[in-house]
Amino acid sequence: MNASSIPRGRKEMRLINTLLAATASGLLLAGAAQAKTLVYCSEGSPEGFDPAPWTSGTTFDAASRTVYDRLIEFQKGSTETEPGLAESWEVSEDGTEITFHLRPGVKFQTTAYFTPTRDMNADDVVFTFMRQFDKESPWYEYAPGIAWEYFNSTMASSLKEIVKVDDMTVKFVLNRPDATVLATFPMDFASIVSKEYADQLEAAGTREQFNVLPVGTGPFTFVDYQQDAVIRYQANPEWWNGKQAIDDLIFAITVDAGVRQQKLVAGECDIIPYPNPADIDGLKGNADLNVMQQEGFNIGYLAYNTLMPPFDKPEVRKALNKAINKHAIIEAVFQGVGTAAVAPLPPTSWAFNDSLTDDPYDPEAAKAELEAAGVTDLSMKIWAMPVQRPYNPNARRMAELLQADFAAVGVKVEIISMEWGEYLAQSSAKDRDGAVLLGWTGDNADPDNFLGVLLGCDAVGANNRAQWCHQPYEDLIQKAKTIFAQEERKPLYDEAQVIFKEQAPWATIAHSIATVPMRANVTGFAQDPVGIHRFVGVDKTE
């Protein structure tokens, strides 16, 4: 947000602050070392700075992962969780109550527009969730059209009520045992906001500011946002986990991937996300840079319509899977930065079954099996998405390769594409003609987010693009959902993946590899499997 849209009094205040800061840093310069600045060249503008209403990773990086904390956090670089603003939590015997014990002495940030008078407590936690849950809350729709999509699609259906037990204890009561709820607390919509700040804005009649000038408890304090250009943060000196080593964090919004990469090479950026796959080899060869890579928490797939003959026969689907040269796809579409997908879950998930083997690439066998299944002269459609996604950087190119692969086993393919909104809507239809290229990036670390959301019976006609409802599989994943202990869930998911492999509703194509190139003097950065970029513990050596 440009300063021009901030009330005038504020602008002057900010000017004074800037001047004060300038004087202060001038004084400091005399003695101490220069302030450390880390520049992250991000891929787009955040939609807003309230962490809850938004759904894009770009906004999560810019708003929730910098300014805010959550009750439970992902461990750095892992899908395992660790305590955040909650020091501990316990689940009741019947699995319907989750009680959090809050961390004492956590301070909200002091900014030019807000000075907290109390520490974070249960009121803030209750407010954080109730404003998304309670339709009567004045904050439920505090700006035109604001909506709580992530809360609604994850926690809402199982949540009964939120109870403030005492100042430091909050209890979430569920209407049925649901282990997936626990997995949603590290998500961005569950970032804890300040009730005191909200009350102050409400009294001043400027509620919209909640989304423009954020206040949280997190490692970095928001300073300024120039629309579509730069977001500035300072290290929060009072962060409960200690002040960060870098003093200033800057998000320089750089939409074009080629430009990001050039700015990194030129030293204008310290870290960039999403480089062009074609540039990665060049970046790796640059001694000034350090390129980190990790399998992304995503899956790109080709979903057959299992309701339509001949794709209702598993033999046909399996035969076609054998005709696909995944290696060629990974070379030409992912430029080598992807791995062939064996299961619908990414290998970085704790529930991934690593004893599975993939269907071999064997056109001869595929041809024979198709004939054995009585399928000759098959012609089919393949849907190619019109947009670029991490799990599929170029669906059109992938479809062209599949076309050539299927032609080799005597199957004619017509590639069709349409506008993205239409594509999403029409590909969900049960009577859809053809196989669809699509994919998924995990919202959270729970395996149900892949195995249930994309392949469960409830999702037929919606997210289940294969329209696949297979009872033995469904029973397993439904049972796993009600169990909280990971070690008890794992065998159920292992078996579910075996069934998936036998039934082959999809051709699992690839998991993209997330690449984060950075200057060689950047230390302490770790890639998060779920695809967020956060800068806790990052430092720069000279």
């Binding site: 300063a3 800037t18 919209e208 204008e268 909104g421």
Partner: protein
């Protein structure tokens, strides 16, 4: 003269109403809708879809939506962005200075260089200077500017390292935004280093955006000069024995510039189009990029408001040019 101005102003009203209608209908004719696109792969239930569409009044009959929109416009309300939930007007104003700063720099560069090159060519008609200048102008005129931008970045930024790759100003420079123009704000803040940084960042995008107008203006100036130089009264002036230089400057230039002014005005629309490509490539935080993104997100109210505001800018400039033209060329206004 007054009648001429009134006439032009009256013509603007129906055009403007037409533009509101076009902007309104266009975005609603696009396949897909903002809710489906925002939900992406996660999908949205039909009930939730209806609820969200209703929040913005998109469930109303088109006629009602249009009426609400026009009533809003009359109150200065351009609606809200679906994706950021902020008022369209404030979103526009936050980005417009960036586009304006770039466009103004481009038009100044194009005019100064273009007029100079045109005059030089006309004076030296047929010489190698003339041929070289016009050759270069023709190449510039034929340039696919998105490709040209990529070449310039490869050469000046990546290979030579002379200019920054993108952005408006060095990230180490930070000062309060007053006017939204980096060049002015940096000076207001008393930071010459920031000013030079802003200049540095402006160079490549300005060159790219100025390329086609520069070529057009150079060619136009040359032709206009030649035409005027050929006219009788110049001959008369010459025969009176005035120095050749005086002839050129006093008579020819003034008359030749009349069509050039029109050309410059017409280039504003071209610049707005070029801004879409230039801003995309240089990550310039202006309205061109914003419009493209909003179209792809089906952000109805942003696209209709943005189209309307852009058309308004183009029309105001065209009107000014028209009036200016009527002012300096009396032949027109009596028609």
């Amino acid at each position: 003269m007054l009648r001429f101005i009134l006439n032009r102003l009256l013509l603007i009203v129906p055009t403007f109403i037409g533009i509101t209608l076009v902007a309104f209908l266009f975005i609603r004719l696009l396949p897909g809708d903002p809710v489906i696109l925002m939900a992406g792969e996660r999908g949205v239930s039909p009930e939730r879809h209806a609820e969200l569409m209703a929040q913005f009044g998109f469930d109303q009959p088109l006629l009602k939506q249009y009426a609400d929109y026009v009533v809003g416009l009359l109150h200065g309300d351009f609606g809200y962005s679906f994706s950021t939930k902020k008022p369209v007007l404030s979103e526009f104003m936050a980005r417009f200075p960036a586009t304006l700063e770039l466009a103004l720099c481009a038009i100044v560069l194009a005019t100064v260089l273009g007029v100079a090159a045109g005059i030089l060519s006309a004076i030296r008609r047929g010489s190698w200077i003339d041929q070289a200048t016009m050759g270069v102008a023709l190449v510039g005129y034929s340039m696919p500017i998105f490709w040209w931008a990529l070449l310039l970045i490869i050469f000046f930024s990546t290979t030579l390292g002379w200019t920054p790759v993108s952005g408006r100003i060095s990230l180490t420079q930070f000062f309060p935004s007053v006017t939204g123009f980096m060049l002015i704000d940096s000076l207001l803040a008393g930071k010459p280093a920031a000013f030079w940084s802003a200049v540095h960042h402006l160079i490549l995008p300005t060159i790219v955006l100025a390329t086609i107008p520069l070529a057009v203006i150079a060619r136009q100036t040359r032709s206009a000069m030649l035409e005027v130089l050929g006219e009788v009264y110049i001959m008369t002036a010459k025969s009176k024995g005035l120095a050749q230089r005086r002839v050129i400057w006093l008579h020819a230039l003034r008359n030749a510039l009349i069509p050039v002014v029109t050309t410059i005005g017409l280039q504003v629309s071209v610049l707005m189009g070029g801004a879409i490509l230039t801003e995309t490539i240089f990550s310039w935080p202006g309205i061109g990029k914003w419009m493209i993104d909003s179209i792809s997100r089906r952000d109805y109210q942003v696209v209709q408001g943005g189209l309307l505001l852009i058309a308004a800018v183009v029309m105001v400039v065209n009107l000014t040019v028209d009036l200016l033209y009527g002012l300096i060329n009396p032949r027109v206004r009596h028609r």
